[in-house]
């Protein structure tokens, strides 16, 4: 298949890592995957094109308004590629009624100028086929496709056994593991959860090690958030300083796993909207490439449905400090859970699976007689 991915690609944010995986695995599996647009010298491994001749399917990756291509590209794609060859993957749950939860939202006109109906009409305009990266889309006309995946070849360190892994992890000194916890992600609707983690972390800080928080706008609440009254983008510089948290700016997508591997633990958390809609992100899977123990700050049933049963052990429940201490005391069972989870992800969420699922969805759609 010739697959054209349509959406903005930014080396610092959103789905850039997953897009690289689609290009890479597309080649392995005999597909030609390219990204719509002009070459980006910052992303030399991505093949960009504006040629839409021979495209079998254009996949619109919708997250933010700028993911809709500017003119004249938008008209070329929409006029020259029939609807049957267009698919939308709605990565942020825009194609829903408005959801507001814990200051988070899928539509907010004052923020991006678009109320609910505009998102829904615009996505309808692109395609009849809308996919969302959740196991349980809310709308009957949306189908589940997780999009993001797991690439076992990207695991940084393959341990022969849980025992070996635990030993290496325990013995790692400050050079190999300068941090106790590493979280990479921008300050966007995550502060409430990060603060809760920090409050628990206080009790085990000396034992676990320093917390590294990498991403945009953690050091202070940005002026634009204050101006717009967006409460989901908050921070507490005094608390961060008090706990000795190292703040870093955002980092490029291809340096994230290396940074996360410098910590003993890496929390995985989803912003409130994504928890509500059950949406997964690249980070949901990518964190498992790093040589550290993920801490799944997610609902148990969601964890089991995405990561498999073994991953339950990586969920701290209500007592994060106790969980971290327990892992420090006896890491082997947790490494065992981690290795089993990686295995589960490789079996169930590989990019090979994703391509098969995508082909299946497209075939189903053809069988149902998608509009030409």
């Amino acid at each position: 298949m010739r697959i054209l991915l349509v959406g903005t690609v930014d080396p610092w944010t959103r789905s850039v890592a997953t897009i690289h995986k689609y290009v890479e695995w597309g080649r392995i599996l005999g597909h030609d995957v390219s990204v719509y647009g002009s070459n980006n010298p910052e992303l030399p491994r991505l093949p960009f094109t504006t040629d839409i001749d021979g495209v079998d399917v254009a996949i619109f990756l919708v997250q933010v308004p700028s993911d809709f291509p500017a003119m004249p590209g938008l008209a070329r794609i929409m006029d020259q590629l029939p609807r049957a060859k267009r698919v939308v993957i709605d990565l942020w749950g825009r194609y829903n009624e408005t959801v507001r939860i814990d200051h988070d939202f899928n539509h907010l006109e004052k923020f991006d100028s678009h109320p609910a109906w505009e998102w829904i009409d615009a996505i309808d305009a692109l395609s009849d086929t809308v996919l969302q990266p959740t196991l349980a889309p809310r709308r009957d006309d949306v189908r589940s496709f997780l999009f993001h995946g797991f690439d076992p070849d990207a695991i940084t360190t393959n341990h022969a056994s849980a025992r070996d892994a635990a030993a290496a992890w325990s013995e790692a000194g400050r050079v190999e593991k300068p941090y106790g916890l590493v979280y990479v992600g921008s300050n966007w609707q995550r502060w409430t959860q990060i603060r809760r983690i920090l409050e628990d972390y206080r009790d085990v800080r000396d034992r676990v090690g320093q917390f590294c928080l990498a991403g945009w706008d953690w050091s202070q609440r940005p002026a634009w958030a204050v101006e717009m009254g967006l409460k989901g983008i908050n921070t507490d510089p005094e608390l961060l300083a008090d706990l000795g948290v190292e703040i870093r700016q955002g980092i490029r997508f291809d340096q994230i796993v290396n940074l996360v591997s410098q910590g003993r633990f890496a929390p995985i958390l989803h912003r409130p909207l994504f928890r509500e809609l059950g949406l997964v992100t690249n980070r949901s899977f990518e964190t498992f490439y790093a040589d550290c123990i993920p801490v799944l700050m997610l609902p148990q049933d969601f964890v089991v449905s995405i990561y498999g049963r073994a991953a339950s052990r990586l969920v701290p429940g209500e007592h994060l400090a106790a969980h971290l201490s327990a892992v420090m005391d006896d890491p082997e069972p947790y490494w065992d859970a981690l290795l089993k989870t990686r295995q589960y992800l490789a079996e169930n969420h590989s990019y090979r699976n994703r391509f098969q699922q995508l082909e299946g969805l497209l075939a189903d759609r053809e069988a149902c007689g998608a509009a030409p």
């Binding site: 308004p65 590209g73 938008l74 678009h114 009409d121 305009a125």
Partner: protein
């Protein structure tokens, strides 16, 4: 047909007045017209709409700026209006080769800029019309006069506002300075003591826009406020499109200029017709053949180039003779350029 105009709407410039006329006339032809956007409080008579699904035709109207709407709206429109239901109106000669007039005015500053425009318009639709009465140079483009004369807007001399100016020029200082400096100011200089108030009403006669280069090429805004001061020329601010004709009627003579590019390409503008609705004597900075093309034979009598000082004095001294010429032009405009006719042409353009 329900027609949605996508355009940069400005109350004091551009094509807003023309579209307002189409809005008013459309129901008489069984159609409706609106501009894409949300209502503007100071022009309550203009119908705006964001409800794209209510429309079945779209007109993208481009002036000198490649006006873009937000991509989400554009996607909805592209899905709603198939290519055959889209019409592109190019009022400023942008769908052309690179054209530079007298090393001064131009349609595109570079070939890359031109290519960007052409690519944009080609992607958007198959039909481009230019606001001309004659066949356009570019083979893809056809002519659609678009702007027209509405006799209903004529100002009755009995109810006209009092005359404040002997000479008035209504229009922004956008590529007009060279002509004003070369032809009009020397003429005013010659006859200044024989005429009353002179006014240049519009933007940028006192200086360039505050936005700086973002507003456009600096040479488009050249002016000489000291020359204006020396010649006692007033520069009142711009008025809303709905007040243009009334304002023109405050002068005995109105001078029509046109930016060199549009005159070279023979593009029509709304001003060509507004000035003949006003209670005034229009004098035209057009050559005689050009004037006849639009206004009929009588139009030749109203041209200024090469004889501006004499013609202005003659018009001020013999108003009845000039009023008679103006009436002849108005009869020609009613016969050939009425908005009713324009509305038929516009709606027919979608059927062709």
């Amino acid at each position: 047909m329900n027609i949605l105009f996508v355009m940069k709407h400005r109350g004091n410039a551009g094509s807003t007045h023309a579209v307002a006329n189409y809005m008013r006339l459309a129901p008489e032809h069984g159609h409706s017209v609106a501009i894409f956007g949300t209502p503007i409080w100071y022009v309550p008579e203009l119908k705006f709409s964001m409800d794209i699904a209510e429309f079945d035709r779209v007109i993208y109207l481009f002036e000198t700026e490649l006006f873009r709407i937000k991509p989400l709206y554009q996607a909805i429109m592209l899905a709603r209006f198939p290519r055959q239901d889209r019409l592109i109106i190019d009022t400023d000669g942008m769908y052309n080769e690179l054209v530079t007039v007298d090393g001064y005015d131009f349609n595109h500053s570079t070939e890359a800029d031109r290519a960007q425009w052409i690519a944009y318009m080609d992607a958007l639709g198959d039909r481009v019309v230019q606001t001309l009465t004659t066949k356009p140079a570019h083979p893809k483009v056809s002519a659609l006069s678009f702007f027209g004369y509405d006799p209903a807007l004529r100002v009755d001399p009995a109810s006209a506002p009092p005359k404040v100016y002997d000479i008035l020029h209504v229009g922004h200082n956008w590529w007009r300075w060279k002509e004003v400096a070369k032809e009009l100011l020397p003429a005013f200089d010659k006859i200044r003591d024989q005429v009353g108030e002179i006014g240049f009403l519009g933007l940028w006669w006192d200086g360039p826009p505050a936005e700086g280069p973002a507003a456009g090429p600096s040479q488009a805004f050249h002016s000489d406020p000291y020359a204006f001061k020396r010649l006692r020329i007033k520069t009142p601010g711009a008025v809303m499109y709905s007040d243009v004709i009334k304002t023109m009627s405050t002068a005995r003579i109105n001078i029509l200029t046109q930016r060199p590019l549009l005159r070279h390409l023979k593009h029509l503008t709304q001003k060509y017709f507004e000035v003949f609705c006003a209670d005034t004597i229009p004098l035209l900075m057009l050559d005689e053949d050009h004037a006849e093309l639009i206004y009929g034979r009588a139009g030749r009598e109203l041209t200024l180039p090469g004889r501006a000082a004499e013609k202005i004095l003659d018009a001020l001294r013999n108003p009845d003779r000039y009023r008679s010429i103006v009436e002849d032009v108005r009869s020609h405009l009613v016969a050939h350029h009425s908005y009713d006719q324009r509305a038929r042409e516009l709606f027919a353009a979608f059927r062709s």
